[in-house]
Amino acid sequence: MTADGEIIHFDNVGLRYGTDREVLSDLTFTLFAGRFYFLTGASGAGKTSLLRLLYLSQRPSRGAIRMFGTDAITLPRARLPVLRRRIGVVFQDFRLIPHLSAFDNVALPLRVAGHQERDIFGPVRDILEWVGLADRLDARPATLSGGEQQRVAIARAVIARPAMLVADEPTGNVDPEMAQKLMRLFEMLNRQGTTVVVATHDLDLLRKVSDSLIMRLDRGRLSDPTGALRYPPRKPA
């Protein structure tokens, strides 16, 4: 993170798959530490592609990306895990490991990061309890409903307290009550300093989080009419 609180900076970034036309074009924006961002746009606008760039699943075709003060374009592969461990991801299709239990799926980021087993059980059990799955610790993903799988995916994304949380339609498969609860969890993380980026179609969600900033994608281009992405308003203390 830089001195002015910048954690992510995109400079004239473009992305194309193969020889097709660019799905993302001329993206220039900055994400600041501790802010809450909503990424909106119509289907096919490029939200998922932008998220893939944010959680380092994809390199851009052009432009520069700086993450946590590091040039993410020239960073050697071997050092990518360092950055990835600072990013929590909630995938739209959950991407739980099918043969691992809910507990082991949630524990995975901690195990990957080298936490001791004795430091893992308590937090994993607590967060699964918090998302209402205390009685499903040993359940395999295939035996969980879509909503339960989504909650496991969210628990996995936040268990290691990432510096940035990226979520792709995180409330798409849960009931309104759980959706509200999950948004409270995101807000709680945000208050503790985690930058949150949520891609969503649900415009109601935008109104529920105060001081959130909106990134609107339209056919691969980001609109920032107010300049809030470049010069965000000061966050109230």
Binding site: S57, R84, H99, V112, G114, V158
Partner: protein, 315 residues
């Protein structure tokens, strides 16, 4: 506290070393259920049998060489029995006076009769004599200190020529050379088989690792996105294939032992000198026991390098 304390520096730590069996669970695979352990069992069994054959042949060659290296046979070809007997005594006396002779003995007539019996039968003795009616050469078996070199044979010929003109001297090693050459060829073949089987094992593991990588690509991508390193992913595959190789290796060695002991017992029953000298010694058994261990190490290294190489192509 809901959340775990995040590492302060965000630096990668190879924590899966402490995970034990849990890390291997990332790749779902029932032990001894797939074909890989059985392929490894067959490879290890064949390798151990080939190695045992190579070692046994090596032992037989070494032992026989040591035994006949200084061996010289003196044949007295004189057809007249009385002259032959006189020349034999004179030759023995002359040889006894020579330096660097470890020992000598005249091959008894009974042994000579036994040697020719398979071809000429037992009804060839001259009436009223102990010898054969056919003029069979007298044989003197001489042991030299050191190898029977052409120079030493020439010196012996020079000594014997005046006292036993019909004497002909042969180094035993020279007429057994084709046999030794054939045995050494078999030994080389056995070593080549061991090398080929090791290569085949590595190739089988490479294919299995690639197949497992393909089948688990989604899982690997998730682990990567959660911050897993290539080394961590490789360790999972390495461990999984290592367990398969260890199980398969144990089964293969057991199978090979049954075959080796069974064949060893059958050859032992022949009572032939050169075959008996090919028996495996304890160091050979130790080498055979190392086969599954080395196979496991080879399989794990192959899996590791295959996976690391493949992962380099992923982001």
């Amino acid at each position: 506290m809901i959340f775990a304390k995040a590492p302060a520096d965000g630096a990668p730590r190879l924590g899966w070393r402490r995970l034990g069996v849990r890390s291997a669970e990332l790749v779902p695979q029932a032990r001894m259920a797939g074909p890989m352990p059985w392929v490894i069992a067959i490879m290890v069994a064949l390798t151990a049998i080939a190695l045992a054959a190579g070692l046994a042949i090596g032992n037989a060659v070494t032992s026989a060489r040591a035994e006949i290296e200084g061996g010289v046979t003196v044949q007295l070809l004189e057809p007249r029995a009385d002259v032959r007997a006189r020349e034999t005594r004179a030759a023995i006396d002359a040889l006894k006076r020579q330096p660097r002779i470890a020992g000598l003995r005249q091959v008894p007539q009974a042994e000579l009769d036994a040697l020719i019996e398979p071809w000429l039968g037992t009804e060839i003795a001259a009436p009223g004599s102990t010898g054969s009616a056919i003029p069979v050469p007298a044989l003197i078996d001489v042991r030299l200190n050191g190898a029977a070199t052409p120079e030493r044979l020439k010196a012996l010929e020079t000594v014997l020529a005046p006292v036993a003109p019909s004497a002909r001297i042969d180094a035993q090693a020279s007429w057994l050379k084709p046999v030794f050459d054939a045995m050494v060829s078999l030994q080389v073949l056995a070593i080549a088989l061991v090398a080929l089987l090791a290569f085949a094992l590595a190739a089988a593991v490479l294919l299995a690792a690639r197949s497992a990588l393909g089948a688990n690509r989604e899982v690997i991508e998730i682990v990567h996105l959660l911050g897993g390193t290539d080394a961590q992913v490789a360790r999972v595959f390495q461990r999984s294939i290592g367990l398969d190789a260890a199980g398969g290796g144990a089964v293969g060695l057991a199978l090979a032992m049954v075959v080796i002991l069974s064949i060893g017992r059958r050859f032992g029953g022949l009572g032939a000198g050169m075959v008996d000298s090919g028996a495996l010694v304890w160091t050979d058994w130790l080498l055979l026991a190392l086969v599954p261990l080395l196979s496991t190490v080879l399989a794990m290294l192959t899996a590791r390098f295959t996976v690391l190489h493949a992962l380099r192509k992923m982001l």
